[in-house]
């Protein structure tokens, strides 16, 4: 039953990503060329409403479906990793026009070449696992 709810939320995510056109290589190009509000509007609204949601949840000690109070962990303060890793990801984001979520959604659209991008991403993550102890964080 729980697994079914994750599947359902995933399906919803796939539909939202498609209808929003956030999975579009064209929209990502438009964003990195500052030529339309579209992507900034999507992310901006999500961050503003998300911040209100986080504030409301913390204030009201929001409980999840299992009845446990939701605790929000802070992101590790690895600023070098955030900037260096973030920049490397940004290079790839603009090349493929997709971040990890949209890659899966686009696979569902039926583009075979997306499977190659996902495999490359897995190789990239595996490589990071091998070399991470040598990298500054």
């Amino acid at each position: 039953m729980k697994n079914l709810s994750y599947l359902f939320i995933g399906v919803l995510f796939g539909i939202v990503m498609t209808k929003s056109e956030a999975i579009s290589w064209y929209r990502i190009q438009e964003m990195f060329r500052f030529q339309h509000i579209h992507m900034y509007g999507i992310i901006g609204i999500a961050v503003i409403l998300g911040a209100l949601m986080h504030y409301w949840m913390k204030k009201n000690h929001f409980k999840n479906a299992a009845g446990e109070e939701v605790l929000f962990a802070d992101k590790p303060k690895n600023y070098i990793a955030a900037l260096a890793g973030g920049s490397l990801f940004g290079l790839g984001w603009a090349m493929t026009g997709a971040c990890p979520g949209p890659l899966y959604v686009l696979l569902g659209h039926g583009y075979a070449v997306i499977a190659v991008i996902i495999l490359s991403a897995l190789v990239g993550t595996f490589t990071y696992g091998l070399v991470r102890k040598f990298l500054p964080h």
């Binding site: 939202v16 060329r33 999507i42 900037l83 493929t96 959604v105 686009l106 696992g129």
Partner: protein
């Protein structure tokens, strides 16, 4: 019905992303998709090669189910709920991309392509252009998101909305990389 068969306004899209984030939190999880790469490497036995993959990946199996759902959602949205109208892409973007030799969005099987179909083909994959854009691009996504500790969902949406400073630094990084690719590397890559 328009919601099902038409593209959405960006404001509604932003709201719906928060709905997804809320549902995941209510289900006891958090919104962050790039962790799935680590989970898959761990499930494939990566723990023998690195401590980074040596953990009980089954605790993250929910994320793999979520990923499966998003593939199904992508199929439904593109095949069942598809819309034939053209995308309201900015004309200056269309012009800039045309200068690189990239065609605008086109119709395919009565549905709009969200990607340049000529570019995202298996034929391009064997070109130097395809190798750079897809193989290197994919590698950078997998390497960079895990190095940074999150992607657009984990840092830009979840992290920023939870007022996390490392996430703001990561998002600045996303844009440094994206701007370099778009404005410095693309003229070179598309001339190959």
């Amino acid at each position: 019905m328009d919601l099902l068969f038409q593209p959405w306004h960006w404001a509604f899209s932003g709201f719906m992303i928060v709905v997804v984030m809320f549902l995941l939190i209510y289900a006891g999880q958090k919104f962050g998709v790039s962790t799935s790469f680590q989970t898959m490497c761990s499930a494939a036995g990566g723990g023998r090669f690195s401590e980074y993959f040596n953990y009980d990946w089954k605790k993250q199996s929910w994320l793999l189910i979520f990923v499966l759902g998003s593939i199904i959602g992508g199929y439904l949205a593109s095949h069942v709920m598809a819309y034939p109208e053209s995308m309201a892409l900015s004309q200056s973007t269309i012009d800039d991309l045309a200068a690189l030799g990239v065609a605008p969005p086109e119709l395919k099987n009565h549905s709009l392509s969200l990607l340049p179909l000529d570019l995202f083909s298996m034929e391009t994959l064997t070109d130097p252009k395809g190798l750079l854009l897809f193989v290197l691009g994919g590698f950078l996504i997998g390497f960079g998101t895990r190095y940074a500790g999150g992607c657009t969902s984990g840092h830009a949406i979840t992290g920023l909305s939870n007022l996390q400073l490392p996430s703001l630094v990561a998002v600045i990084g996303f844009f440094i990389g994206g701007l370099i690719t778009t404005h410095l590397l693309f003229p070179y890559i598309f001339s190959l």
